[in-house]
Structure formats: C-alpha cells, structure tokens
Amino acid sequence: MTNDELYKKVFCDTFLIEESQLTGLAYQGVKSWDSIGHMALVAALEETFDIMMETDDIINMSSFEKGKEILIKNYALEF
C-alpha cells in the first residue's frame, strides 16, 4: 500500500467512516472524531508510519488534510 492509501485507511478504520467522507473532514466533523478518537487516530498513525508525534503536532492535527501536511513536513513522509 502507498502512504496515501495507508493514511486513508487509518482514518477510515479509526473513525469507522467511508473514504468518500475524508475530503474536508475536520476534528469533531464526525461523532467518532472526538478527543478520545483523536488519541486513537494518533496511536494508529504512529504505529502505521513508525513515528512518535510531538504534542504540538497532535494538537494541530485538526483535519484530514492538515494531518497529511504535518506528516509530510515534520516526519519526512512522502505521499
């Protein structure tokens, strides 16, 4: 799987949503992306991409797009 596919899969699996819902998805945009869901998302991203996210990045990961931007900029992931 490509990083892009993995990234989408993490979101879909964590929040139990369809890929069609991902574009424009923001924190609390679906019921499952609450604060607890956010930490589950972080754990899944860290495990999938073998990274340890900084607290500032965890706080700033406010949307599907923003998360990808952070992974590219701060964790040298390529999409």
Partner: protein, 246 residues
C-alpha cells in the same frame, strides 16, 4: 523475582532513591533505561555490574531535566530500541530551599520545570507507548511536603503537590488503557539532599517521626517495586506515604 521480562525507565538513577530503585528493579528481573543527569564512569560500571549479576540489560541514558531538547533526544533514543516499556518511575528532582518572600520567580520556575514539567513531558511520551501495549505502571515520586507543607520549601512542596494532582488525573485518563499511575510520598529519607540540612533541624524532624529514625532509600524503592509490579494490580491513583509515621 517480581518483574521478570519487563522493561523500565527510571529517572534520577545516579544516586539516592533513584539508584536504590534501579538496583531493586534490576534485582527483580527488569531491564532498565537508567536515566541520569550526566555521564559518570562510576555509574556506568555500577550499571554494568548490576546488569551482569542479574542477567538483565541496563542502558544509561543521560539528559538534563531543565533542557527540553535533551529530554526529547533521550526519549527518542529509548523509543528507537523498539522494546515495550512496562514501567516508568519518575524520581529525578531538585530543591532550593528559601522562605517564600525570598524566592526569586526564576528559581521557582526552574524547580517546577525539573520537578513537574519535565516529568510530565517524559510521562506523556512514555505512556503513549504504554497505551499502545495496553499495559503499564507509572510511579511518581512526590513528597510528604506536598501533603503536609514544609518550612522553607514552598517551591519544592508545590511542585510535588502538582505531581500528586497529575497522578490522580492521569490514573483516571489511562485506567481504561491498562495503565496504572501512582505516587509515593517519602518523608525524611537518608539521602544527600537530607545530609545538607543542619543536624539540629534533622533531629527535630526525627523526633516527630513515630519510628524515631530517618528512612532508608531501599524502604522507598521497595514501595516502588510494589507499585511497579503485579502485586499492586488493583491500585491506581493513590499516594502512599513512606514516612515512618508522622
């Protein structure tokens, strides 16, 4: 052996309660990342001998708790070992005693940086790994001064009180993720920190202790062992006094 096959991160291992805890945890079969302020040859030899005697590995890790970047680098080094972390013991701390109106704010901030914020940064990082494993035990070293107050120790006692608040809240937040969080509140323990206190003051304190003596570092580390091990499976969010009865 209560901790066979487990891995522990312990801060403040160079001396006192930290070194005794390192010894107790290793003797009980756990591998250890032994955190200390700065490289020290005697400490390295101590770690190596202790590891050999107990068939565990002990990795010294050095960083200054007042330096965020150093902590971050050290934690990444620990994480890069790709080992599960079962136990975190936050021991490292400092005190600068002064009467309240004589405490410069910078000094108070430094005490909080070392005794509280650095501990929280480490705990944030390590418990994130524990949550993934769905198991872990965090033991924070507070102080009876956080519970009772202590003349001339406002910064220290307040920072240690903050540790108690964090312990209780964290124990609630991490409970359903299999991570227990507890604190110990040692009283007057025979360490270098106490040796620096004038004898008449120490004697006065001893007279207030039911057991009429100072505590020994191993009496604290045995309590750490209890909280780190499965013996305390159903204990979380607690503060245990180790003070000889006051």
């Amino acid at each position: 052996m209560l901790l066979t096959g487990k891995n522990a991160v312990i801060t403040g291992c160079l001396k006192g309660i930290g070194r005794s805890t390192l010894e107790t945890i290793a003797i009980n079969g756990s591998n250890v990342w032994a955190c200390a302020l700065a490289p020290d040859e005697e400490f390295e030899i101590f770690c190596q001998d202790l590891a050999n005697e107990n068939n565990v590995w002990i990795k010294p890790v050095y960083f200054d708790l007042s330096d965020h970047e150093q902590i971050k680098t050290a934690l990444k080094q620990i994480a890069s070992d790709k080992q599960p972390i079962n136990i975190l013991v936050n021991i490292a701390g400092m005190t600068k005693d002064a009467l309240f109106h004589m405490i410069p704010m910078d000094q108070m901030k430094l005490i909080f940086e070392v005794n509280f914020f650095a501990q929280m940064y480490i705990t944030q990082f390590i418990t994130k790994l524990m949550v993934r494993q769905k198991v872990g035990s965090v033991v924070n070293i507070s102080s009876i001064s956080a519970l009772d107050g202590s003349y001339g120790q406002l910064s220290y006692s307040a920072s240690k009180a903050a540790i108690i608040g964090a312990t209780k809240t964290l124990s609630i937040e991490l409970a359903d993720k299999g991570v227990r969080v507890n604190a110990l509140a040692p009283g007057v323990i025979d360490t270098d920190m106490v040796k620096a206190v004038p004898e008449d003051i120490i004697m006065k304190r001893i007279n207030q202790i039911s057991l009429k003596r100072l505590g020994h570092v191993d009496e604290v580390s045995k309590a750490v062992l209890f909280l780190a091990s499965d013996l305390s499976d159903y204990i979380s969010g607690q503060v245990i006094r180790i003070d000889g009865g006051i």
